[in-house]
C-alpha cells in the first residue's frame, strides 16, 4: 500500500522508474539528474544541486508527513555527506567514493556472541585451545569446508543462538564485508 502510494507520488513529480530496479527513480531537472533510492520508507535522494533536493524533500513532506497528536510521525531528514541507515554508515565525503562501515552493528554482534558463549558454555561449547595461528587474516578458517563427522551436534539452545548469529553475520557480510562471504555461504548451508 505504502509502496503504491509512494510510486504514484513520485511519478506525479515527474520521476521515471528504473525498469530493472523497482526502488530506484530518476528525474532530470535543469540538466542534472535527481536519483531516489528507497527501502520501505527510507529514501535516499541524491543530486548535484542541493536546491533540487530541498524541493523534492518539501514535496515529499507535503504529501507524506502525518504528525500524530503526541508529536510522533514527523519525517526525519538527514542531510550531508554521512548517513546512518539500518545499521550502515554511508560516507560520501571522499570524492567519487562511498565508504560503508557498520562498526556499531559489529560491536553488538560480537557482544551478543560473547554473551552467548558465557551462558551456553556448559562444558559443551568449549573452544579448543589449539594452536590457531593468530596471524591468519581471513574470515574463513582453513578447514572451512572440512566436515568433522565426529562432532556432537549443538544443543537446542545453542542451535537457536547459532542460527541467529549466522543470520546477523550474513546481514553484515552482504552489506559491508564481501570478504566474509565464503565463510557465510558455508555456515548457512
Amino acid at each position: 500500500m505504502f509502496y503504491k502510494k509512494l510510486v504514484a507520488a513520485l511519478k506525479s513529480y515527474g520521476f521515471e522508474f528504473n525498469l530493472y530496479d523497482v526502488c530506484v527513480a530518476n528525474k532530470t531537472v535543469d540538466g542534472s539528474v535527481v536519483t531516489i533510492c528507497f527501502h520501505v520508507d527510507g529514501c535516499k535522494i541524491s543530486c548535484v544541486s542541493t536546491k533540487v533536493v530541498d524541493e523534492t524533500i518539501s514535496r515529499l513532506r507535503n504529501d507524506f508527513e502525518v504528525v500524530f497528536e503526541d508529536g510522533s510521525g514527523t519525517m526525519k531528514v538527514h542531510r550531508g555527506k554521512r548517513h546512518e541507515f539500518v545499521g550502515m554508515s554511508l560516507d560520501y565525503s571522499h570524492k567519487g567514493e562511498v565508504h560503508i562501515l557498520m562498526i556499531r552493528y559489529v560491536q553488538d554482534l560480537v557482544d551478543t556472541f560473547k554473551q552467548a558463549q558465557l551462558t551456553l558454555d556448559d562444558g559443551f561449547i568449549k573452544v579448543k585451545k589449539k594452536s590457531r595461528s593468530s596471524t591468519q587474516l581471513t574470515a574463513a578458517p582453513k578447514n572451512l569446508f572440512v566436515v568433522n563427522e565426529e562432532c556432537k551436534p549443538l544443543s537446542d539452545a545453542a542451535r537457536v543462538m547459532y542460527h541467529s548469529m549466522v543470520a546477523k553475520c550474513l546481514y553484515f557480510a552482504k552489506r559491508a564485508r564481501p570478504d566474509a562471504m565464503t565463510a557465510m555461504s558455508f555456515l548457512t548451508k
Partner: protein
C-alpha cells in the same frame, strides 16, 4: 544448516573474531571513468563435502565490489574447466542485470567484461562448441556464447 555441530560453532567463532578485529575496514565503492563493468569469476573445484564446487565472483565499476557472489554450485562437475563454465553461467544473469540497470540509469556501458583465470573455460565459453557431454553444460556454454555474440559481455583470460 540443519544440524550445526561444535565444529561449526568454532568456525562461527573464528568469523566473529575476524569481523571484530577488522570492523574498521570500510567497503569502498567507486567508479573509474572507463564506462566498463568488470566481473571477476572463479570456481573452487570440488571443495564441498558432496564434491560440488564453489563459485566466487565480484562485480565492480572500478573500485570495490558492488556485488559479490559466493555460492555453492548446484550440480556436480567432472573437472575444474567445467566448474568454471558453470560458474560463469551462474553469474551471467547478474552481469546482464547490472548492465541493464546502469543503462536504465542513463549512464553508458562500453564493455561488460568477465575475467577468468582458466583459458580453456574462456575458449569454450567464447566458441560455444562443446567437447564436453551433458545437457546443462551445453546450455551454460550456449548462454555465454550467445551473450558474447550479442555483444553484451566479453570474456577475457587474465
Amino acid at each position: 544448516m540443519k544440524k550445526p555441530d561444535q565444529d561449526d560453532w568454532e568456525k562461527l567463532e573464528h568469523l566473529v573474531k575476524y569481523l571484530e578485529s577488522t570492523k574498521n575496514l570500510p567497503l569502498i565503492l567507486s567508479a573509474d571513468n572507463s564506462d566498463n563493468i568488470y566481473t571477476y569469476a572463479d570456481a573452487a573445484f570440488a571443495v564441498h563435502p558432496d564434491m560440488k564446487s564453489h563459485n566466487g565472483a565480484g562485480l565492480t565499476l572500478g573500485r570495490g565490489f558492488a556485488i559479490s557472489i559466493s555460492s555453492g554450485q548446484r550440480l556436480n562437475t567432472g573437472s575444474l574447466t567445467t566448474a568454471e563454465i558453470v560458474c560463469v553461467s551462474d553469474i551471467l544473469p547478474t552481469t546482464q542485470w547490472i548492465r541493464l540497470f546502469v543503462l536504465a540509469q542513463g549512464l553508458k556501458v562500453k564493455e561488460n567484461i568477465i575475467y577468468q583465470d582458466n583459458e580453456s573455460s574462456v575458449l569454450l565459453e567464447k566458441n560455444g562448441k562443446t567437447a564436453l557431454s551433458g545437457h546443462v553444460i551445453s546450455i551454460s556454454e550456449h548462454f555465454s556464447s550467445q551473450m558474447q555474440w550479442r555483444k553484451r559481455s566479453a570474456m577475457w583470460y587474465g
